[in-house]
């Protein structure tokens, strides 16, 4: 079965979510939503989502990334994306979402961008 695995780790004041698997309608999208909500409730406001090991995303998955971005921003936080695969970049690009998300290819640059 296709599942999404989410590992959390901290780098300074940034929480990095290493995602692996699929973000599709149903389980993957729900898992991501729950993980982000839980972190926000715990006071983690600087979130960096590493998509490098995500092999499939559908429109629900893209919608969930947007939803997580909005929820985080509404709570005074920041959510940024790291290591977009070509497919994810294409899906974000054609729906103009690359103008919304801050994206990075370097983890250290991404972490620095959140500021101290």
């Amino acid at each position: 079965m296709a599942h999404l695995t989410i590992n959390e780790r901290n780098a300074g004041n940034v929480t990095i979510l290493d995602l692996s698997g699929k973000i599709t309608i149903g389980e993957g999208s729900v898992q991501l939503r729950d993980a982000v909500r839980k972190l926000l409730e715990q006071g983690h406001k600087n979130l960096l989502i590493d998509l490098g090991q995500v092999d499939y995303v559908d429109s629900s998955g893209i919608g969930e990334l947007v939803s997580c971005y909005t929820t985080t921003k509404n709570q005074g936080g920041q959510l940024k994306l790291l290591n977009l695969t070509k497919k994810i970049k294409d899906l974000l690009s054609i729906t103009k979402l690359l103008t919304v998300f801050e994206t990075f290819e370097s983890e250290s640059e991404a972490v620095s961008s959140f500021g101290g």
């Binding site: 296709a2 149903g26 559908d58 919608g63 947007v66 909005t70 899906l91 729906t95 103009k96 919304v100």
Partner: protein, 153 residues
């Protein structure tokens, strides 16, 4: 001569994977390149998800019919739900700045982006039929010249 493959699934999201597996086999048979095959797969999945979620409203007693027809280098996919139908012209434009942060409403846009033709019609026995067409281009060929070659008949 056209080949056709048909399957009918219950309105459960786990069966989207089944439709996806058949799609991958069909695109392999036609020799689409990996990128194109991936986007065809995404388009079929989006269409089947829409049929389950919006068309059949997750009623498992309402089936989703999926039919693939192969005619030369052209793949046509039909996805039929048993819903009340919708007006595709009323779907908000996901590129409108007002809709950019809407978590929904990108599925049909992706289908229209990645397929050569997408249209919607009412089935005479009820429900909506989505028809999607993708033609294999010369660049999809894996060393063959089938697209440019003379017709068989």
């Amino acid at each position: 001569m056209k080949d056709s493959i048909e399957l009918t699934i219950e309105s459960k999201f786990e069966y989207v994977e089944l439709a996806s597996s058949v799609t991958k086999n069909v695109t392999d048979m036609l020799g689409f390149d990996d990128d194109t095959a991936n986007w065809i797969d995404l388009s079929v999945r989006e269409s089947v998800i829409n049929a389950i979620k919006h068309g059949n409203q997750l009623s498992i007693d309402k089936p989703v019919d999926i039919k693939f027809t192969i005619d030369g280098d052209t793949l046509t996919v039909y996805v039929r739900d048993r819903g009340v139908g919708f007006n595709p012209l009323l779907i908000p434009d996901p590129l409108d700045p007002e809709n950019l942060l809407n978590p929904n409403g990108r599925g049909i846009f992706y289908m229209k982006t990645f397929m050569d033709e997408v249209d919607f019609s009412h089935h005479p026995d009820g429900g909506t039929v989505v028809r999607m067409v993708k033609r294999r281009s010369v660049t999809d060929d894996k060393g063959e010249l089938a697209s440019d070659g003379p017709p068989d008949n």
